[in-house]
């Protein structure tokens, strides 16, 4: 039986100055959900990169918007669900960056995909929110 338990529900302003606080919460909630130090630190990296992408691309660096971050524990899975109401995701523009090229931008999504087992972008049923689910399976 799949048992899903919400362990964190938070909403932060889309302000880069608040990312440090968010990282603390993600680190502790990941450890609380049974991640070892290394995995918890990787969860922090993935969620931080996802929040950065929301701030930069969905909100065009407007620090007065909000990002909802919900964390669920589901059997051996840890699920981070990030919701914003910024610019709709243009799926055709989510490019797969080749990490063999040495250039400054576009590192976030490949790093997230390396860390997590599943990365899913979607739109809420009313079309007003972008939803990103990051799923990590604890082996």
């Amino acid at each position: 039986m799949v048992e899903s338990k919400k362990i964190i529900e938070m909403k932060i302003a889309s302000d880069p100055a608040l990312l440090s606080m968010m990282r603390c919460v993600v680190l502790h909630s990941s450890k609380n959900a049974g991640c070892d130090n290394e995995m918890a630190e990787n969860m922090v990296i993935a969620v931080n990169e996802a929040c950065m992408n929301i701030i930069r691309h969905a909100y065009n660096n407007d620090s007065n918007k909000s990002i909802a971050i919900n964390v669920f524990k589901e059997n051996n899975k840890l699920i981070f669900k990030l919701i914003d109401n910024g610019n709709p995701i243009d799926f055709s523009k989510i490019k797969k960056r080749n990490l063999d090229e040495v250039k400054p931008g576009g590192l976030g999504l490949p790093m997230i995909e390396t860390i997590m087992d599943k990365v899913e972008f979607s739109t809420s049923p009313d079309g007003k929110e972008n939803v990103l689910e990051l799923i990590k399976i604890k082996h």
């Binding site: 630190e41 931080n48 990169e49 950065m52 040495v102 250039k103 590192l107 790093m111």
Partner: protein, 105 residues
Amino acid sequence: MEYKINKNGGYSVIELEGEIDLYCSPDARKVILKELKNGDDMLIDLSKVSYIDSSGIACLVEGYQVANEKKVKFALLGVSQNALNVLKLARLDNVFKIYNSIDEI
């Protein structure tokens, strides 16, 4: 984020400290690019960096590219475990020259 700049053996050594994230990476970028204008070889000391994200890594990549154009050396010094983990995730750990201490150079 805090930083110090020292001169050591012909190198300009920028010691970054704290969290290099989206909030302060623009400052790190300015410091690195401004110092590169002097034309000295450069070392970025990451031993006191507790966290670095992809925007911080992008500053290092940009510095590396500018240094290459200017034909000056650009390397990382005393990279903390957290920073090394992020460099590996970005597959850049083999791009930068990384030294444990200035004596290794």
